[in-house]
Symmetry: C4
Subunit: 280 residues, 4 copies
Amino acid sequence: SQWKIWSEADFTNTWKTRNKDAHKGTFGTGLLLAGSDEMPGSALLAGLASMKIGIGKLIIGTTPFVASIIASRLPEATYWFNGLNKLPNGDWPVGVKGIAIGPGLTDTLLVEEAIKKIWETNIPVILDAGALQKREYPKRNAPTIITPHPGEFSRITGLTTAEIQKNRLKLASDYAQEHQVIVVLKGANTVIAFPDGSGVINITGNPALAKGGSGDTLAGMILALLCMGENPKIAVANAVYLHGLCADELVKTRNENTIVASELSNILGELIYTLTHNIS
Amino acid sequence: SQWKIWSEADFTNTWKTRNKDAHKGTFGTGLLLAGSDEMPGSALLAGLASMKIGIGKLIIGTTPFVASIIASRLPEATYWFNGLNKLPNGDWPVGVKGIAIGPGLTDTLLVEEAIKKIWETNIPVILDAGALQKREYPKRNAPTIITPHPGEFSRITGLTTAEIQKNRLKLASDYAQEHQVIVVLKGANTVIAFPDGSGVINITGNPALAKGGSGDTLAGMILALLCMGENPKIAVANAVYLHGLCADELVKTRNENTIVASELSNILGELIYTLTHNIS
Amino acid sequence: SQWKIWSEADFTNTWKTRNKDAHKGTFGTGLLLAGSDEMPGSALLAGLASMKIGIGKLIIGTTPFVASIIASRLPEATYWFNGLNKLPNGDWPVGVKGIAIGPGLTDTLLVEEAIKKIWETNIPVILDAGALQKREYPKRNAPTIITPHPGEFSRITGLTTAEIQKNRLKLASDYAQEHQVIVVLKGANTVIAFPDGSGVINITGNPALAKGGSGDTLAGMILALLCMGENPKIAVANAVYLHGLCADELVKTRNENTIVASELSNILGELIYTLTHNIS
Amino acid sequence: SQWKIWSEADFTNTWKTRNKDAHKGTFGTGLLLAGSDEMPGSALLAGLASMKIGIGKLIIGTTPFVASIIASRLPEATYWFNGLNKLPNGDWPVGVKGIAIGPGLTDTLLVEEAIKKIWETNIPVILDAGALQKREYPKRNAPTIITPHPGEFSRITGLTTAEIQKNRLKLASDYAQEHQVIVVLKGANTVIAFPDGSGVINITGNPALAKGGSGDTLAGMILALLCMGENPKIAVANAVYLHGLCADELVKTRNENTIVASELSNILGELIYTLTHNIS
Ligand SMILES: Nc1ncnc2c1ncn2[C@@H]1O[C@H](COP(=O)(O)O)[C@@H](O)[C@H]1O
Ligand SMILES: Nc1ncnc2c1ncn2[C@@H]1O[C@H](COP(=O)(O)O)[C@@H](O)[C@H]1O
Ligand SMILES: Nc1ncnc2c1ncn2[C@@H]1O[C@H](COP(=O)(O)O)[C@@H](O)[C@H]1O
Ligand SMILES: Nc1ncnc2c1ncn2[C@@H]1O[C@H](COP(=O)(O)O)[C@@H](O)[C@H]1O
Ligand SMILES: [Mg+2]
Ligand SMILES: [Mg+2]
Ligand SMILES: [Mg+2]
Ligand SMILES: [Mg+2]
């Protein structure tokens, strides 16, 4: 069938070693448009995930208030203050290789204006959370990735979450093919549907992830792998796979109720080391 | 008798496993009204405890100043700025399944206005610290929980702390039955008295908890278990039990004087794992 | 002689176990007047040390700017904004059992005004850093403790640091007896001189402590032990002893150049546990 | 030849033990001019590195906004608000033994004004990032160190990065000799060229360092070793050596993609301990 379960081997076969002579430019610059004053943490969670999975440079477009919260825990990133408000004027940081927009954003009008500007570029983009609305997607040469949970997919499609949950694969794939976007339909066994009709089913993850902030972490991971130059299909599949695996690792020694999203990206280092060194 | 000592078996028999298909909505949204500019930490301590014991989503109603302090350590929560001031106007975040009010609050008038609005709802509520005043409690279909230490119980009842400490069980139970609230009378061997005359005695905990911030952590734990859908009696008993057990665990390797409240919720993960896997 | 080297046995013989029924009031409320906008960290270091050595409650009198920096790492404390400016008006938090003033303070005039008000009380006080000036000390029923390093003792006494270092014991003791204060003359082998002519020599500590922030940590430790009700002589000796021992422990596994002051109080828990359980 | 590979023996032979009677003054006061509101993290990374490698005192000249971000993670430092704007007026903190300028600075005019004032002193200076421009260097009695990556060396020299990478040793050395500065040409196998024509090649480090923030950490390490009184050649060589070695150590247990710059200085303590105790 056109569906494939993403396995450990799929991950290890596609995970890249950094080139000896690489520099930070080699791993791309990501632009994260996320976080508002009442929802500042989402930008921190996505940013931590991006930096800790391997991106070269990260620019976070957010408010000064949010930046003041993030920066002490993520000093490796830089900021583009109120980037969302500047985007419509064509103001734009140089060298951006991938964009994620949406976590912690609630000003729908501003987000729409920003997305219109993004459509004019050929930069890969991830639409998450506040950027997930019923919409048309223009034809572009760069991938567009949407990461709805069932509630957000309901908002986008007009279907009920019950309908969606009964028919996750088909509905995600139909949407992906019709709109020519990559659909990451989240929840237990996340479904990744590609524009060509193929798709990936993820089997990592557990209900420790059923808590505020998990999705922000995933968005950051996808952004990073895209910026690092990975093929979009593999980038998305590996990010979803690792995101779930972090949770699976944490529940080996800790009760599932007690995991918080900021802990996920912390263990990527040892997790990937183990996977790529054939230790189990 | 109507008094029961809450045991490890009581905890393990009632502690729930998260459903495979659960999502964050499954574990409820809590509203924490806590923290003022000169007492910001209480909101952080309560919030950390809520998130780390398993709540689905947490909204913290507090000042922007306090939010800026909390959010870097608790990026998984979101904020409702100056919620206390907005509540009287009927402004209200959607989907709230439980409320805790009081930690770090000193503006008694504002707190009273907020509580009046809360009485109009059928949302379970925990009154702690600044929300503990001599008062009447309206008849509601949702539980009201009060968490006084002996000094606060003195303020509420007009009795001296010496009188209270001599007769903890009877006085807590009388108050619970008369006012139809759940009384958590804190201190060594916390007493939990229910409106029906029954009650629970807690035997976990130690004087490492005799330090600023311990009570805030407990309030957050109770809020979370309530929001996660647990029966109120069990929610309160398990929160009090775990709160004390965290301290008991910490003093196994560290001097009792040196524990600080923010460390308590950090070890919930391994603690509950051990209890529910029959490891000792 | 009147000089005594403070030994491990002196520490273990005097270190108190917390009473089973204790509550936070049992361990006192400390007032820490420290930190200014350009020197915010000193208040955090002193505050962390106070809380992590066992104080019941800590109120930090500092600016809102400094509080916003401290509170995320020390949520167990509360704040008294701009306390230094309020003190001269007789505004005063209730129930304070000990005061430390000076770390990170540079406004000499304001500090003097505050100290004048403090002299009117019978609250034990520690004068450190910015509060160390050439001055007279009024007769009070509560101990006054000064904690100069040789440079500060030079400022107070008019002697050169070379003269001081050549004659640490005698000069400290002369000052203590003349002014009826406890003198903690810091540096390798800290000398503690009491008003009655007796004194203690400390032999813990090492040059890992020769770094900005070490002294702030010590001030916080002394404040806590005083508030916890310890006899002033023992409180000061044990604080100095433990402060040095933390550094001695850290250099057992880490290079001495790499220790920073905020790490000292982190290991108090295991350190004291080991000492009081006869493990070595 | 005039080129030497810096070895573990070179490090251990030159690394100093702290004198028993040392105090913080013994290890110098550094001035770090770094960080702007949209690039606050660079100042934190450089500052952490300085403090954690052994400097006595650190003053960070930066904005209040940046200070509020740094200080909770680096309470051992103090601040000189907007130092960059004050420098041209001859306002200047006392006792500074070394200066690093550039990380996170973008206001080129202000930076130039500051550098002009620095030239008037005989204080060792490190020019990094925003302070790296095409310029002449005045004759001074104190060392000037520049730390360009190939992109920055291209900006300074007018050569392309391709030309630079083909001929790293010669180009770095020519520049060092012509301008009488120490050139740290970064990237895999960092080249350190001295004004006298000699040079050092570094063989520690790996592409885990190819990520935003790595260079800031290095600048802080060099600043500290200079302030601690080390000979400039050795200070630079040891800083570059240790900086790379931290990364080499981290990738022994963690995947190279997942390391972030703030982790580097964290492991200096154990790393140097091992090297200087002949443990491997
Ligand atoms: N029960 C579950 N099992 C596995 N993954 C889950 C579960 N619940 C939530 N998740 C994941 O957690 C994240 C939640 O995203 P969000 O709802 O945007 O915060 C997604 O990646 C989901 O796939
Ligand atoms: N001596 C003690 N033994 C056991 N628990 C204590 C003791 N002192 C305080 N606690 C607990 O610590 C918390 C203090 O709450 P609060 O006074 O509001 O900060 C309550 O949960 C108390 O039951
Ligand atoms: N070489 C050293 N040996 C032992 N203790 C030291 C040494 N240098 C500094 N200290 C201690 O570190 C603290 C420095 O205080 P301050 O100078 O106020 O930061 C004091 O407690 C000193 O006794
Ligand atoms: N591939 C690499 N191998 C070794 N060191 C590297 C590599 N990439 C970057 N670095 C180091 O990381 C730092 C990057 O500095 P910057 O570009 O200013 O952030 C410098 O110290 C470089 O030498
Ligand atoms: Mg989401
Ligand atoms: Mg309380
Ligand atoms: Mg000092
Ligand atoms: Mg750089």
